[in-house]
Symmetry: D2
Subunit: 168 residues, 4 copies
């Protein structure tokens, strides 16, 4: 049985309206393609992407730091309360076929570093501020020859995502 | 949005045909009720329950020890490769609304202990051998006043599961 | 450089005076032999063993569930606040050359199950009540041919520990 | 009982002679002050710092990704094989009173991000290359008002470390 691909969307847990708008659109796009939306399950970008996936008829999976399902945002269809604190960042990344970064502080930075080490394709929205913007287009260390994919618009991020997941 | 309840089925990773048959039937029952089947994602009871859920039209979620999606059995629809080894037993349990134990060695014993501490309802199949049979009906320590629910038949396990999830 | 052997002492976090007395004596014995005392770093048996090691001039290492060093008992010389909740049980066991079980509820049961799977020698004090007493002398599943070593007195536990660590 | 302070040294697992030399000197300095050297327990900067601590008469604690003590470098006096893969980066940071960064790729980047979120003081050697040099002096996100402390020489790093640990 072919499983559906899983796309991790990472970014700020605080609310930045422009970043949330990008996340929402990406969540809908992910759902429309039949992929599973994976996120850290909390607020901000995570909630907006989950809402997009949910309203688009898809599945939003929430991988939480805490040991309680109550920590999840209301759009999560399936909840994994890991109970392992921010060590769960590592799991978020391993659960991804592709990672999409929107804005983001040090939580996002941590997940980008993990994604790099795990060999996951990373698409960073270069118009979204935060660590996603700062690292878009960069090679992070000697482990890989490629670079973080830089997407300057939502459309470009969607094209990159589709290119990766439809050709795998 | 109301999420669907999540049922963790635990038991042997090795193949015991009678235990696998119970797991398969439980997986189908879980899917038929619209619940999500959660398992450790590997062989034996985990695979049989996942197959039951999948063939019943439901979602089988696999929470793996390894860091690779390739470790999952072929019936997993959504895969979480935790990368944290058997520390993932803790996450399996936290992701459960109810735990159903079928047979089982020390991996299952570990998860029953975690489930007890996390306050999760536990249904143990007393006809299935292993640690599930040994602990069915027992109170494990001072932390709880109740006991592990003992189910002597598949029908009884299904009734107990339905009773818990439909009255919550 | 030869590192010193590491002995994990597991048991109740609540205070049972007789169990704590065993733990204290074992902690002193571990220190007197130059071994490192590893524990979960909290109260009860963990604190008593740590106190024994500390007062015996040894090193008590505390591996905590929480993300704060403040959770450790006052006898811990080195503190590892894992931040991963009770998933840290897995780490406790992996950090052990030998495991000694005294009394214990489901936390101890969980660690015994992990120790069995990790192939660690386990000495259970059969006079100490709890899961240590219940499982002393037993073979837990098909993974191993040996049994949990049963020690009926403190002296016997010390002899068994010395026999394992001095012949490795 | 007053425990000794714990200093985490992070940096490349690959060998860069200049970075290793800094790490070795820092390890000796940490030992000379009676602090515990914490590291990820592997090669490169981790091994050099552990060797410095060991040869300086101190304790080198190794917190490993793998489940086997054999992964540790030969200078580790106490070994914690976490078995949780690179999720152990989170534990490294929580086990630190202060973090010292020397060179470093994405593993180091991940740990700096965790250290920032955990509120730990971070000293980055600005003459050591890698992510330590790139982030020295920077504020990483809105969570903190301070910056990563930039040390341009080994002496400066030692002064900063002493200033933090002797005034706490």
């Amino acid at each position: 049985m072919a499983r559906n691909k899983q796309v991790l969307v990472i970014g700020d847990s605080a609310d930045y309206p422009e970043r949330n708008a990008i996340a929402y659109t990406m969540g809908r796009f992910i759902a429309a393609n039949g992929w599973v939306l994976v996120s850290g399950g909390r607020g901000g970008v995570m909630q907006a992407a989950s809402r997009g996936a949910s309203e688009g008829g898809g599945i939003a999976l929430a991988i939480l730091p805490s040991d309680s399902m109550d920590e999840a945002n209301p759009f999560a269809a399936i909840i994994i309360p890991t109970g392992i604190g921010f060590a769960r960042n590592y799991i978020n990344v391993l659960a991804a076929d592709v990672v999409v970064a929107i804005g983001g502080g040090t939580g996002t930075l941590c997940e980008i570093a993990y994604a790099w080490q795990a060999g996951k394709p990373i698409i960073a929205c270069s118009m979204s501020g935060g660590w996603a913007e700062e690292l878009a287009g960069r090679t992070l260390d000697y482990r890989r020859d490629d670079a973080i994919i830089s997407a300057a618009t939502i459309e470009e991020a969607q094209e990159q995502l589709a290119a990766i997941l439809k050709t795998e």
